[in-house]
Symmetry: C2
């Protein structure tokens, strides 16, 4: 078969896809939000449509079953009733992985379970199915043959709904021409075909639309062809379909890998993984940006960071700790990089004499993460790049460390108006990222000695200049991704600094008291897991790297 035919089929359903999306959200770009009312109406319509479809499907099934009765080979295909799937028995059957199908299995019988990605009926006697499993695909051929495969079976195959789960028994064969429609270079000549679970006929997102890159859509537009663009809200509403795409599969497998390397690296350096509470008494220092709740009659809030508790762990002799856990921010930020809930990668450690010890950990840890991803996630990175093309991250073997002053100076020299005690805004961070890349050839660097006034009250000020602090930020591709610092471990100094920052010391007495029982000098940092993945893959939007993102306008699914 030619991949051309396939492409045409895609174009057809793609056009439908456009219609659907546009009607749903007429003026939408990727991030525009459709109005609630329109959405509700749409949901109602969809539900009605779904009910009608279900009725139609069951009518069709009844008709089909009538036809089947007359087929002596009807036992070779059909929908498996749910009753048969209730752990009926343990058989000796072995399922072959689609990814493992190759020439070595030629002429052997295999049993595979997969999702029907495409269905192409060629005639009454032949139909092609492409099955997908774990990112691998294989072409299955249903050919009518006397006493083996009936025409009804070909018809049955053609009538399956895309994205249904099927079991296929068949013989592996090797076609003469390379197969473009699937990842595996062998075909399966189907002898039996059973549907394990049928997807509804009209899916809210078509797989072939969901995997399309912007570039493809734009290239087609230049030739006056309109290809469907599935907008972000549709993707997030039907996340269960969206995450089946190779790019999303890749993204979340990369995310898991980031966490693994983070944990393993730190454990190898003597860190202990801990878990700190997310339910906190009172309302956290952060003020308005916290989610408040009632805890058995007490006012409580969700932790905005594990700051206090990871510091208690250090004062409690754990020496070096990390946490991977949820962080909650009730901020009203609706940007490409903010979420109301994300996974924080937090680190806290004793320091002997200088916060550069913390920066050294950041350096080694992130080089380990980047190296690890490049080495172990080649397939995933390729899958992501196919839909969201990006240049591999440029980073040095030893991370570049600049002072804040040096950064500001670079900006000033490039004509940016900024003072030595101003904080960097998003724009100047981007600009500095460009300048650093040009001068040092890296998109990953550390900026330290920030002005004290732009950091939290518990940040240690510099030994030689109290205007600055023993703190740092870390940037990937011009965006801040990590904040860290030496903390004030002396309770009296901490009190003084809190007062200087206008904080009512009474409200943070628990925090301050934690340092009264002998506290070692220490420091640490925090980073968002989703941001690491987003920026490593240049994904543009953090909703692409959060499995079920939460922002001020989204709380589902």
């Amino acid at each position: 078969m030619s991949s051309e035919t396939n492409n045409n089929a895609t174009a057809v359903s793609a056009a439908e896809g456009v219609e659907e999306d546009e009607s749903k959200n007429p003026s939408s770009t990727g991030t525009t939000i459709s109005k609630k009312a329109a959405k509700k109406e749409q949901m109602k319509l969809e539900k009605k449509k779904r009910q009608e479809e279900a009725a139609a499907a069951s009518a069709a099934a009844a008709l089909a079953s009538a036809e089947l009765e007359s087929d002596p080979l009807s036992g070779n295909y059909g929908d498996i009733p749910i009753h048969e799937l209730q752990s009926k028995e343990v058989t000796q059957r072995k399922w072959n992985e689609i990814g493992s199908l190759d020439e070595n299995l030629k002429d052997k019988e295999v049993l595979i379970r997969g999702r029907v990605q495409t269905i192409r009926p060629v005639s009454k006697t032949i139909a092609f199915l492409v099955l997908r499993q774990k990112g691998f695909t294989v072409q299955c051929v249903v050919t009518a043959a006397p006493e083996l495969v009936s025409k009804q079976m070909v018809k049955y195959a053609s009538s399956l709904n895309k994205e249904s789960i099927v079991d296929v028994y068949g013989i592996v064969s090797k076609p003469n021409e390379p197969i473009k429609a699937a990842t595996q270079q062998v075909e399966v000549q189907v002898s039996r075909l059973y549907c394990i679970n049928r997807a509804i006929e009209k899916l809210p997102i078509n797989f072939e639309d969901a995997i399309r890159s912007e570039a493809e859509i734009e290239a087609a537009a230049l030739e006056n062809k309109q290809l469907a663009r599935v907008n972000r809200d549709t993707r997030l509403d039907y996340r269960v379909l969206d995450i089946r795409t190779p790019a999303k599969q890749g993204i979340f497998r990369i995310q898991c890998q980031v966490e693994n390397i983070f944990r393993n690296f730190l454990i190898s350096k003597g860190f202990v993984g801990i878990h700190t509470p997310k339910l906190i008494a009172g309302s956290s220092e952060g003020g308005s940006a916290v989610f408040k709740l009632d805890y058995k009659g007490q006012p409580a809030c969700l932790a905005q960071s594990p700051q206090l508790h990871k510091q208690i762990a250090i004062c409690g002799d754990f020496n070096r700790v990390f946490e991977v856990g949820h962080v909650f921010r009730a901020e009203d930020s609706y940007t490409h990089r903010h979420l109301c809930e994300f996974i924080g990668l937090d680190v806290e450690m004793e320091i002997n004499e200088h916060y550069s010890e913390v920066m050294k950990i950041v350096d080694e840890l992130f080089v380990a993460i980047f190296d690890g991803l490049n080495e172990n996630c080649k397939k995933e990175l390729e899958a992501v790049g196919k839909q969201f093309p990006f240049e591999p991250l440029k980073y040095l073997r030893e991370t570049l460390v600049l002072t804040f002053k040096e950064g500001v100076q670079m900006l000033q020299e490039a004509g940016v108006e900024i003072g030595f005690e101003d904080d960097l805004n998003t724009e100047s961070e981007k600009k500095l990222g460009q300048l650093v890349l040009e001068k040092y050839g890296t998109e990953f660097y550390i900026l330290h000695r920030y002005p004290l006034k732009v950091r939290p009250f518990y940040t240690m000020s510099c030994y030689d200049d109290p205007t600055y602090s023993n703190s740092f930020d870390v940037f990937i591709r011009g965006e801040e991704i990590i904040s860290g610092a030496q903390r004030i471990h002396d309770p009296e100094f901490l009190k003084t600094r809190a007062e200087a920052c206008g904080i009512d010391v009474q409200t943070i007495s628990t925090y301050i008291d934690s340092f009264r029982y002998g506290a070692p000098p220490h420091g640490g940092f925090g980073v968002g897991l989703e941001r690491v993945v987003m920026l490593f893959c240049a994904l543009q939007n953090i909703r692409n790297s959060s499995l079920f993102p939460r922002d001020p306008q989204r709380l589902a699914p």
Copy 2:
């Protein structure tokens, strides 16, 4: 020095410890809660005391500093001012780990940083300090010697507060007799001594009281000696001190190890680690036991389990997933095994034909965890056992699997009144644990095919008997620790079951709809991290294995 002297010293401060605890909470046992009002008053008193102490300390410091001026060797000791600890400079100094001090370093100069665990002034010319770091301790000797160590320095050493952080420079020596007061079998002959951070003089918990086992207290009581018992609430109020004890250090390092083995084992079996949202729209199916909050004007609640989202991940083609994350339960349970917030270890996976595939993962995973702890955490388990003695867990190389019916039959034969469709209560679970241990020699086993009516609506019923379900619980030492099952993956069947359970299908339409786009048969299980640690070490109370526990009466620190 003899350890006898040390023990006497312990007894003295222990007696003080008792007084303090008793006055704080006169009628208290380990779990009794002192009244709020009394606590507040106590807090006030403590604060006042603390202020007075601070004043006294600074007066003493002033006096001391006057004395020091006359000491030409005053540069060899003293409190390091905070200013000097603000990352002053990066020197070439190397700190030796206390745990690495041994005979190989004899006659060498070392620099160590540690916490002052005990102080024993012997005379005006000699004082012993025991320093602690990462669970290791070393005895340091300050001996007055002309032109090296002044009498003022000996006095300074004697005046340090316990639990303060100090830097010690000294020469390693090997005494003739074995050292009982410390883990390291060498001493450090101190030449310089600097206090990095001073603990307050009167600590709310004495270290020597905090490490004492029940057995020691009871043995002493038989001889009419009263040793301090630090009750649980005091420990939790001052968790920063409590977690410094070897037992607690061990517990939380074991906890980290459980998580590591869990992750590594599952990753080796093709699972992907995911993170699901904890902020959920509406109020979860669980009803009253959820924490509710306002999410930007929408009613929301905290996730009671990642059930829906881990199932979406399976329907989203991740094939096998796990999550390590917070779980929130607003239940009013004040028992030894319930928390309002804990770490869930959740697993969900496609199954080919039978839920025994899930039980097989449970079997292999937990044997791997138990083996891993026994192999890699010897030191930690020993430290835990010293304070909380326990028998090593008995488990088989291949986990025992019994049906629920078999379990009930064993109970019936032992005289317990229970029917074949009743749920097990805590008492019968304990009893069954005993019976299983006697008959099969294991404290870890799986019980499956529970009555359908005692399981959630989404549990798949048995193929051969709809009274029972494809579900299982797993027990350690007679307590339920894991719940798992095959899930219903068919939307229509799911709807039928929800209705049969009296659930308004409208409220769970998102859940049901997730299965409309092709859903593979699947199953999974969930387990609480804190419970695994508690039951493996037979800790009696889950508050011992949660770093900062949350129960209906505790929301701090």
